[in-house]
Assembly symmetry: C2
Homo-oligomer: 260 residues x 2
Amino acid sequence: MQTVDKAFKLLSLFSVETPEVGLSELARRAGFDKAATRRFLVALQKHQLIEQNPETRHYRLGPGLLHLAKIRETTFPLESILQTALVRLSGGTGETAHAGLLVHAVLTTLAIVFPPRANRVHLNLGEKLPLHATASGQVLLAFSPPEKLDDLPIQLNTYTTQTITDRQQLVHSLQQIRQQGFARVSNTYEDEVTGIAVPFFDAHALPQGTLAVATPSARMSAKLELQIRQQLLLESQSVTQALGGVLPADFSQHLYQETP
Amino acid sequence: MQTVDKAFKLLSLFSVETPEVGLSELARRAGFDKAATRRFLVALQKHQLIEQNPETRHYRLGPGLLHLAKIRETTFPLESILQTALVRLSGGTGETAHAGLLVHAVLTTLAIVFPPRANRVHLNLGEKLPLHATASGQVLLAFSPPEKLDDLPIQLNTYTTQTITDRQQLVHSLQQIRQQGFARVSNTYEDEVTGIAVPFFDAHALPQGTLAVATPSARMSAKLELQIRQQLLLESQSVTQALGGVLPADFSQHLYQETP
DNA sequence: CTCATCGGTTCATTATTAACACCGATGGTG
DNA sequence: CACCATCGGTGTTAATAATGAACCGATGAG
């Protein structure tokens, strides 16, 4: 079913950063022949998974995706479960809380709740978060089967002076994260931002996404960190359960250690 | 690209009514061989467009759809545009307002706003609306290219004593709807419910979905109907414009006729 | 105990997709 | 203005991928 893989590859080339792309560019990025790319686009367009901007002739994701996502969300409300967890997290910590979803080695921001204060961390819905440079990404990698590390690009992008770009160092860091059950990074993706994240799990005890709290680094203290970690752990358990997921043993142990 | 068509066909077998389906059942409904169906499911599962309930071994739509839909919605906010239009519609009329999306000859409820009163029309998000038996469906058919009528099932389902089940009669009705620019039906899908609907259009001036107001039939009056129609026309224009769509000439004429 | 149906797998047969070369149109550049 | 590159899009044969009947073990109803 490599045909399905290729169709999906085309769909996954669209992002919040590049929502509309032309034919040649798509073929280039996907590594397909232009004629083949066109045939795929026409097929996808037929089902409204893709649509074409008639002015620019560029392609973009289509409304058929909304239709399918609405069915899924109505019968299996992942997004709304995350949203309510984030409201509690943001309310309890007074900081920005966000949830990410891991799809095919890409971590995307699915939901965000901002606290009602002026100085807060900002990020965008749909934003793609680098796996090696954010707390959310690292905690996902840490709880994923080791072979998932192969999906990482050879070159780890640098975002700030603190970004981990050495593979060895990253792997070492992941081991520690797995042991402690959460990830905490400071200024590795955006300067002056500290993030703490935990994963939530699917029915196979594999990480499906993350819950995270992000604070201005200046505001982070040992006390605030502890509070955030405890809340994240509780919400992770709650979300995982609501989804019909299962916590892996080496994660659920933290639930008892952390509670005072 | 028949492979893409088949993959989509499998995805489209899931609905709010039947969100989880087993392998044999899927093969039967799609008309595919069981082995082929399995190969498709495995391929779709790899990209999280489908996921499997490990207990029942049944399949359901996957979280990858949320990911893609979020990207589309962030960069091209159809759903949120509809939502704000519905808030105005429901607020202005005091009745239930809903929006439907047409994907591959299937009309699905994408957004709903209920008025704050006890006696109101109820429907569900993600609900599939029959094209021949609802105001929304009829207005879509009326403004679609005639060949779209071929997608209709041979047998038009009966929902109430008022449901149109005769093809001739339906076609006649559609002509009138196209001329007047809106559809109005009473008790054809649910007893005691009257619906009024207008389409909104894409960049090719093709109907992409509908805006509708539904009232308990007992409450409908000539005055209320006129008010609803005027508001629907205005919101249709506004939504179409916000989407980068184009009104067909025989629709936009009503904008001037209706305004008093 | 039997039979039907479930999810899932195997492998020779067959229909599909790939990609080169080419089209006219568009737009930036010397 | 003429040039060249690139755009979106399109045919046609060679190479590749999907198909489906038969078969598994497991499960559950009569």
